[in-house]
């Protein structure tokens, strides 16, 4: 495989891992006002992701950084074209991050309510907007041969774009509920289990509609028809989605969480494979599309970065996996009593 193709799939993988990791943080944050009945419930919910969300968010920075390093032209055109939605995502993430830290610092009802709102918005909005953005990328973005954007931000909210947004929100809700099933006990856990089953009932039809709509709204399936073996990716993703439900019913919450993680990675790769070799397709003219071959860095940079990524990303995965393992137990009273707990 050429260097550029390797980088294309690494690029896709980094986005997939970001959605898989920060995805359950977004899910927990979105469920937060609905499942957190008491202050203690709420604290358990945010402390369940407390040790992990920050490290998870770095996958976004790495996905962005790798886009910059390996495909500078994509980085330039993608982020300047999607200026407004990206700014909204960044502001939302800023509020989410400080809300965790600030919320418990002053013991006042109104103060806590304020940051509760930001925890919800800071989780829900990025989930929605990433979905909207990626669905629009699947459809193509109106930019010309000079990389100048000719679209309108509100047009991103077209039916397929919104469908993508809904799918992302539901995927992350499922993933977040599955995480709460692992890290909570008692009433809160019961509510989480309950809601994880209800979300699934909505997620399945939306996923099916998205798969069908993609056939009409995008040309993602072209690669699949060229190489039918690729349909296996969709099959595995759907299987993971069904496994999620079975594992929840069997109260095997770790396995359910792994299954929803696999569903998210599969869903991301469904799009990535369909895009190949395009990273950022133009809807004005297919010739303007930015691909792994016309938008990549020099071979030297790609080689150096490949070395860096092949050494350090596995290391990151090892120590993050260790950290997940370390914080796998239900959040306890003692955890909440820690001085710097959220």
């Amino acid at each position: 495989m050429e260097l550029q193709s390797i980088w294309f799939f690494l690029w896709g993988l980094l986005w997939a891992v970001f959605f898989m990791t920060d995805g359950f943080d977004f899910g927990v944050g979105t469920l937060y006002p609905f499942l957190g009945k008491t202050d203690q419930d709420k604290r358990i919910m945010i402390n369940s992701i407390g040790p992990l969300w920050d490290g998870n968010e770095v996958w976004l920075l790495t996905a962005g950084g790798v886009t910059f390093a390996a495909f500078p032209k994509v980085y330039a055109v993608m982020f300047s074209s999607l200026y407004t939605p990206l700014m909204l995502i960044l502001f939302a993430l800023i509020f989410r991050g400080v809300a965790f830290e600030f919320r418990g610092k002053i013991n006042h009802e109104g103060w806590k309510k304020l940051w509760d709102t930001f925890i919800f918005l800071g989780s829900f909005l990025p989930a929605l907007l990433f979905g909207v953005a990626f669905a629009n990328i699947f459809q193509g973005i109106p930019f010309d041969d000079k990389g100048i954007y000719h679209g309108n931000t509100l047009k991103l909210l077209n039916p397929y774009g919104l469908l993508g947004g809904a799918l992302f929100v539901l995927l992350f809700l499922q993933h977040g509920a599955n995480w709460l099933n692992i890290r909570t006990r008692g009433d809160l856990q019961q509510r989480a289990i309950d809601v994880s089953q209800k979300i699934w009932l909505v997620l399945v039809p939306v996923a099916v509609i998205f798969l069908v709509a993609s056939y009409f709204a995008t040309d993602l399936y072209a690669n699949y028809f060229k190489t039918p073996a690729l349909f296996l990716v969709i099959l595995v993703t759907v299987a993971a989605l069904f496994a999620t439900r079975i594992f929840i019913a069997g109260r095997r919450f770790f396995k359910a969480w792994f299954a929803s993680a696999l569903t998210i990675v599969g869903a991301t790769f469904f799009g990535i494979i369909g895009l190949f070799p395009r990273l950022f397709p133009s809807s004005m003219d297919a010739n303007f599309s930015l691909t792994a071959f016309n938008a990549s860095s020099s071979p030297l940079t790609l080689k150096i970065m490949l070395g860096v990524v092949l050494v350090f990303i596995p290391l990151v995965i090892i120590y993050q996996a260790w950290s997940y393992h370390f914080f796998r137990h239900p959040v306890t009273r003692e955890d909440l009593d820690l001085e710097d707990a959220y």
């Binding site: 402390n47 407390g50 040790p51 992990l52 920050d54 490290g55 968010e57 770095v58 920075l61 790495t62 962005g64 950084g65 910059f68 390093a69 390996a70 500078p72 032209k73 980085y75 330039a76 055109v77 982020f79 300047s80 200026y83 407004t84 990206l86 700014m87 960044l90 502001f91 993430l93 800023i94 509020f95 991050g97 400080v98 830290e101 600030f102 610092k105 002053i106 000079k146 990389g147 954007y149 860095s297 020099s298 030297l300 940079t301 150096i304 970065m305 860096v308 990524v309 350090f312 990303i313 990151v316 120590y319 993050q320 950290s323 370390f326 914080f327 003692e334 820690l338 710097d340 707990a341």
Partner: protein, 435 residues
């Protein structure tokens, strides 16, 4: 309105705000790791209370630093797309390496540190803080290496309509970057040391928690002494390097218009960029600028008049920025040396303690001004001699940038106020009582 101008304002606002939090994170993480290690070694709970007290302030500060850092990376794409496309081959890889090599480590281990107190041995917990401190500073090294490329581009060739990497090691061992690293990282320690000494002084003046704050003061003081002097020494090398690589910046730093030998330093001046001279000059010290730039009182220093108008940086902010930085830097050396010689009678010097308390903002100001000199002084170039800032912005509508700029100012203003309020509250509250 001009989108380039708005994007510059936005980048300046976002970076300067981000850098209100970064130096404290970098510096205090090392000092806290040292305190926690002392606790592990001696078993003395005073060190544990210190660790927890400074740790709390550190974490509030850390949160603001992290969330404001993400926007910076993405702004290169959103607002500076032509820059990103042109130098991404070199610059982008440095940012990507920073994230994968260092920032992951820092962000993952900070979570372990916060939530791992009772889940691991004291020794392991202290080691986690060392990882956080090291990773943060390694992060800084990569970012400064990236900035060094903008100041003094090396290891690239102009090919295929962009700057392509030709020599990775030249980029890594860019002399300019090395100087910046040796200047910025110790200055973060100076800021952290003065932060600790200032807050300790507050409590020592009230004669409360004396064990914790006397101990903290004595840990921070030698750091302040050594690092403030070191920062100034490296600054001197910096001056020489700027004279060689960026003569326009040097001339702006000193508002120096005429090319001459035995070039003077003026203590104060009001530059007039239209008339190409200083309308007021106070106290001119002949030969000093030649010495600053070339370590030779008789060396010739290029004046702004011999630099084309469209290649001159704005003079006033660079001139004032440089003076403020050097002035404060000198004051900090004096303050820390004085403290060092009085170190056994600190409690009997309330005047000195008050001075130290009110000095907390000074390193912040000096560091921000240092960046004004570095970044404004590099103008009109975004990459020195290679790409102009005016040619680097994204082809986007000014209104978009205007809205996000207003958003940045509102959001950052609000969060900054809340963050500093919370830090001040917790600083005043003091540590947990001894058990």
């Amino acid at each position: 309105m001009d989108p380039v101008f708005l994007s510059r304002l936005q980048f300046a606002a976002a970076t300067m705000f981000h850098f209100l939090f970064v130096p404290l994170t970098l510096g205090i993480s090392i000092i806290i790791a040292y305190m926690e290690t002392k606790y592990v070694r001696t078993g003395d709970t005073v060190y544990l209370r210190m660790t927890k007290f400074w740790g709390k302030l550190f974490l509030i500060n850390f949160a603001l630093g992290v969330v404001t850092g993400i926007t910076l990376e993405f702004q290169f794409g959103t607002n500076w797309s032509r820059y990103s496309e042109y130098v991404g081959d070199v610059f982008g890889s440095l940012l990507a390496i920073e994230a994968s090599v260092a920032f992951f480590l820092e962000s993952t281990f900070i979570g372990i540190w916060i939530f791992g107190w009772k889940k691991m041995s004291a020794k392991a917990h202290a080691a986690v803080m060392w990882v956080v401190a090291a990773a943060g500073n390694i992060s800084g090294i990569w970012i400064l290496t990236a900035n060094g490329f903008m100041q003094n581009p090396v290891g690239y060739a102009l090919r295929n309509g962009r700057a392509e990497l030709t020599d990775f090691f030249a980029v890594l061992f860019n002399y300019n970057s090395i100087l910046q690293i040796l200047h910025v990282l110790p200055s973060a320690l100076v800021l952290a040391a003065f932060f600790i000494m200032g807050i300790s002084a507050y409590h020592l003046l009230k004669k409360q928690h004396v064990d914790v704050f006397m101990g903290s003061f004595k840990i921070a003081l030698p750091v302040a002494v050594v690092c403030s002097i070191f920062v100034a020494l490296v600054g001197d090398f910096h001056g020489v390097n700027v004279a060689k690589t960026q003569p326009a910046k040097l001339a702006a730093m000193e508002s120096h218009w005429e090319t001459q030998t035995r070039a003077p330093i003026v203590m104060f001046a009001i530059p007039d960029e239209k008339l190409e001279k200083n309308t007021i000059e106070v106290l001119s010290l002949p030969g000093l600028l030649s010495f600053l730039g070339f370590h030779d009182f008789n060396a010739e220093v290029k004046g702004l008049k011999d630099i084309p108008r469209d290649e001159r940086p704005p003079v006033l902010p660079v001139f004032i920025g440089f003076r403020t930085m050097v002035g404060i830097g000198t004051l900090l050396i004096v303050l820390s040396l004085y403290g060092w010689f009085q170190r056994n009678k600190i409690m009997e010097s309330p005047g000195y303690l008050k001075l130290i308390l009110f000095s907390i903002p000074l390193p912040y100001l000096a560091i921000e001004m240092g960046w004004v000199v570095t970044e404004v002084g590099r103008q009109p170039w975004i990459v020195y001699g290679v790409l102009k800032t005016a040619d680097a912005a994204s082809p986007i509508a000014a209104t978009q940038v205007l809205f996000s700029l207003i958003g940045f100012i509102l959001v950052y203003g609000l969060l900054g106020a809340v963050g500093f309020y919370l830090m001040a509250q917790n600083a005043k509250k003091g540590p947990e009582a001894a058990h």
